[in-house]
C-alpha cells in the first residue's frame, strides 16, 4: 500500500492570479487552471453542484474535485498544486470543496489562499471614492492568507500605506506583501506564500483584546474572540455546533485554537460554510499563547454580541 502525505494545494485568486501562479510555480508543482495549458497543468472548467439541492452553503465545485484527483492520483504526484481561481470564481466555494470532499481529503490538504491585487487599480478606486471591490472580491480578500500587491512600485509610499490600511480593515488573518521581480526577493516571498499550512493550525492573528470586530460596511466582517481561561469541552463543542448551524450560509472562514480543560494540547478547528473539522495542534505554540483560546470567524451579518457572549460562557466554571 502506498502511504504518502497529502499534496498541499494553494488557491490563487484575484485579477492577476494566473500570472502569479506561473511566477510561483516550481518545476515539480502542478497548476490547475481554466484556460492555461502548460507543463504540469490540468484544465478545469467551472462546474458547480450542491450537496443539498438549493442550499448555497454546500455548493461544491465538481470540476475542482475531478481536476485535483486527476493531478494527484498518479505514481508521482506534484509536490504542490497551485489552483488558479478564474476572475468571477467564488474562492470560498473552492476552499469549501477542497476541505470538505472526502476523496480530496485523502489526497490533498489546503495550504493557503493567496490573492493577487492590482495596487494601481485599488489606489484609483480609493481616490475616486469607489468601493474597494465587489462582494465576492471582498470575501476573497477577507479569507486570504496572503495578499500580493501587483504594480505597487508604480505608487507612492503614502498610497501603499493607505492601501495596506484598507486591506487591514478587510483582512485580519493574512499578510500583505508587494510583488517583486527581483529573483532573490521572489524566492523569499515564495516562502511566505507556498508551504505555509495556514488552515490547519492556530489562526495567524494577534489579539490584544477579548472581542474584536472589523470589516467594511458592505463586505464580510471578521470577529476575533479570545479567552485565557480553559474551556469546557462539551460547552465549546456545543458552541461550535451552534455557530455552524446558525451561520453556515454566512460563514466564509472559521479558524481557532482552543485550550480545552485537561487536554494535553490545544485543539485547532477550521471550516468554511457548513463544513468544520478539528484536530490537535501539531506545532508548539509560543509560550505566551499556551492556555489561550483564539477563534477567528469571517462571515456576513455576524451577530458579534451573541457569538462572543456564548463563547465566553464556554469557559470552565
Amino acid at each position: 500500500m502506498v502511504n504518502r502525505s497529502p499534496v498541499p494545494v494553494t488557491i490563487v485568486g484575484g485579477a492577476g492570479a494566473e500570472d502569479l501562479a506561473r511566477t510561483l510555480r516550481a518545476p515539480d508543482h502542478g497548476i490547475l487552471a481554466g484556460s492555461w495549458h502548460g507543463p504540469g497543468s490540468v484544465q478545469i472548467d467551472a462546474d458547480t453542484a450542491h450537496r443539498t439541492p438549493g442550499c448555497s452553503c454546500c455548493a461544491l465545485r465538481l470540476d475542482v474535485i475531478d481536476g485535483l484527483l486527476r493531478a494527484v492520483r498518479r505514481p508521482n504526484p506534484p509536490a504542490h498544486v497551485l489552483l488558479v481561481a478564474e476572475p468571477g470564481d467564488d474562492v470560498t466555494t473552492i476552499a469549501y470543496t477542497v476541505l470538505s470532499d472526502a476523496d480530496l481529503a485523502r489526497h490533498v490538504r489546503l495550504d493557503g489562499v493567496v490573492v493577487s491585487l492590482d495596487a494601481v487599480a485599488m489606489a484609483t478606486r480609493k481616490a475616486g471614492g469607489a468601493p474597494l471591490g465587489s462582494g465576492p472580491e471582498l470575501e476573497t480578500l477577507a479569507i486570504a492568507d496572503a495578499i500580493v500587491l501587483d504594480r505597487a512600485s508604480e505608487l507612492t509610499n503614502d498610497a501603499i500605506i493607505s492601501i495596506r490600511h484598507s486591506l487591514g480593515a478587510i483582512n485580519a488573518i493574512g499578510s500583505t506583501l508587494e510583488r517583486t521581480a527581483d529573483a532573490a526577493l521572489l524566492s523569499a516571498q515564495r516562502q511566505r506564500l507556498i508551504g505555509i499550512d495556514a488552515w490547519h493550525g492556530a489562526p495567524a492573528v494577534g489579539a490584544r483584546i477579548d472581542v474584536e470586530l472589523r470589516g467594511p460596511d458592505d463586505g464580510p466582517h471578521t470577529l476575533i474572540l479570545r479567552q485565557r481561561a480553559p474551556l469546557d469541552p462539551d460547552a465549546v463543542d456545543a458552541w461550535l455546533d451552534r455557530v455552524i448551524e446558525s451561520h453556515a450560509q454566512r460563514l466564509v472562514r472559521l479558524q481557532g485554537a482552543l485550550a480545552i480543560d485537561s487536554a494535553p494540547a490545544r485543539v485547532c478547528c477550521h471550516g468554511v460554510r457548513s463544513y468544520a473539522m478539528s484536530h490537535s495542534e501539531s506545532a508548539d505554540p509560543p509560550a505566551s499563547r499556551r492556555g489561550e483560546s483564539l477563534v477567528v470567524i469571517v462571515g456576513h451579518d455576524l451577530d458579534a454580541g451573541d457569538l462572543s457572549s456564548e463563547f465566553a460562557a464556554t469557559r470552565v466554571r
Binding site: M1, V42, Q43, D45, D47, R51, R70, P75
Partner: protein, 331 residues
C-alpha cells in the same frame, strides 16, 4: 446451480503501467483496454502497449472489437484502432459509452452522438441542460441516460432530442438493469433514484445515506442494487414492481473508503478501496467476501468482462491485474 462461497479468483497476470490508470473497459467479445493518465494504453495483455494518444484521458469505451474511444478533457474524443486514429472536439468531454452502433460522449451541458462506422461524420450534438456530464449509460433501444451536475436526462439518440429531464443535484453515477428496464442514479445529496424507463416521473428515492453514494451497480434483472458510500456497502433487494425492501443490508466492508465497484453477469460484486484492497462479494453471503486480492495503491477502476469470467482491476499508481473468476458449482 452455483455456490458463490466456493468462488475462486486466480491471477491471470499483473503488470505496471508508466502512469496511474484512469479507465478500464472490456469489449463485448472479451478484449481489454486500459488507458493511463499519460495517455498511453494497454490492449489485451501487457505485451501490447501503445504510445500516448491523449494528453489527459478520463474515460474509454470499446466500439465493437476493433476500435476504442478515449475521452480527453482537453481534446474531446479520440477514436483509435484498425490502424487509424481520429480526434473530434467535444466541449468538456468527461464520459463515453458505446452500444448498438453508436458512441455517446458526455460533455459540458451537451452530449455528442457518433456512428461507430463513420466517426468522421459530424456528431449529433444535443444540449442536455444537465450541466457538466459525469456519468452515462445506454438504456433501451436508442435511449441513453446522462447524469450531470444539475440533473439526469434521458436522450432519444434516434431522434436527437431530450426525452425526459429530471432535476437532481450532482448526479455522479448511473447504472442500468437491462432485463428490468430500470435505471438508477446517485446524487450528491446522498439519495439513490430508482426509475422505470417507461414512467420516469414515478421514481423511488432511496435515502438515508450520510455520505453521498459514489459507486453503484444493479443486476440485469433489476432485483439487486448495490451502492457504496464511504466504507459501507448497501444491498437493496427490489421486487418485480420496482419497490425496494424497507430494510436493506448495510455493512462496513472495507477499512478504507470504497473507490471502485462493479457487478458481474453472475451477480458477483467487486469492491476496491483507497488502500488497494479488493473484495469479491456474493449477493447471498454479504457478511464476508468470497475472495480478496490486493494491489499497490488506491483502486481507481474495476470491471468485469461481459461473460463474468474475468475481472480487471487498476490502481492509481499504475498497477493492473486481471483475474480469472469462477463461481463455485454445487454438485
Amino acid at each position: 446451480m452455483t455456490d458463490h462461497l466456493l468462488t475462486s479468483a486466480n491471477e491471470r497476470w499483473r503488470t505496471r503501467l508508466d502512469d496511474g490508470c484512469r479507465s478500464v473497459a472490456w469489449s463485448p467479445g472479451g478484449r481489454l483496454f486500459v488507458i493511463a493518465a499519460d495517455g498511453s494504453s494497454l490492449i489485451d495483455d501487457p505485451s501490447q502497449l501503445t504510445a500516448p494518444m491523449a494528453p489527459d484521458p478520463v474515460d474509454a469505451a470499446w466500439l465493437g472489437e476493433r476500435r476504442v474511444a478515449v475521452v480527453d478533457t482537453v481534446g474531446g474524443v479520440v477514436f483509435a484502432g484498425s490502424g487509424a486514429i481520429d480526434a473530434q472536439p467535444v466541449d468538456g468531454a468527461r464520459c463515453v459509452d458505446s452500444a448498438q452502433g453508436r458512441t455517446i460522449v458526455g460533455g459540458a451541458n451537451v452530449v455528442a452522438l457518433f456512428g461507430d462506422t463513420n466517426e468522421d461524420a459530424p456528431a449529433t450534438t444535443i444540449t442536455t441542460g444537465a450541466g457538466q456530464s459525469h456519468a452515462l449509460c445506454h438504456t433501451v433501444g436508442g435511449m441513453w441516460a446522462v447524469g450531470g451536475s444539475s440533473g439526469l436526462v434521458l436522450i432519444d439518440g434516434a431522434m436527437g432530442e431530450i426525452d425526459v429531464r429530471l432535476e437532481m443535484d450532482g448526479v455522479r453515477a448511473v447504472a442500468w438493469a437491462d432485463d428490468a428496464e430500470r435505471l438508477v442514479a446517485a446524487d450528491l445529496a446522498g439519495s439513490l433514484h430508482l426509475i422505470g424507463i417507461h414512467d420516469p416521473a414515478r421514481g423511488v428515492e432511496l435515502d438515508g445515506y450520510p455520505d453521498p453514494v459514489r459507486h453503484l451497480a444493479i443486476s440485469a434483472d433489476g432485483g439487486l442494487l448495490v451502492a457504496a458510500a464511504d466504507d459501507e456497502l448497501t444491498w437493496w433487494r427490489i421486487d418485480d414492481e420496482g419497490d425496494p425492501d424497507d430494510m436493506p443490508e448495510r455493512a462496513v466492508v472495507h477499512e478504507h473508503p470504497v473507490t471502485a465497484l462493479a457487478m458481474s453477469s453472475d451477480g458477483l460484486v467487486t469492491t476496491g478501496d483507497a488502500a488497494g484492497r479488493i473484495h469479491v462479494w456474493s449477493p447471498w453471503v454479504t457478511d464476508h467476501p468470497v475472495a480478496t486480492m490486493t494491489l499497490d495503491s488506491e483502486i481507481v477502476a474495476s470491471e468485469w468482462s461481459s461473460d463474468g469470467s474475468r475481472l480487471a482491476v487498476a490502481s492509481m499508481c499504475g498497477e493492473l491485474a486481471v483475474y480469472d473468476v469462477t463461481p463455485g458449482a454445487v454438485a
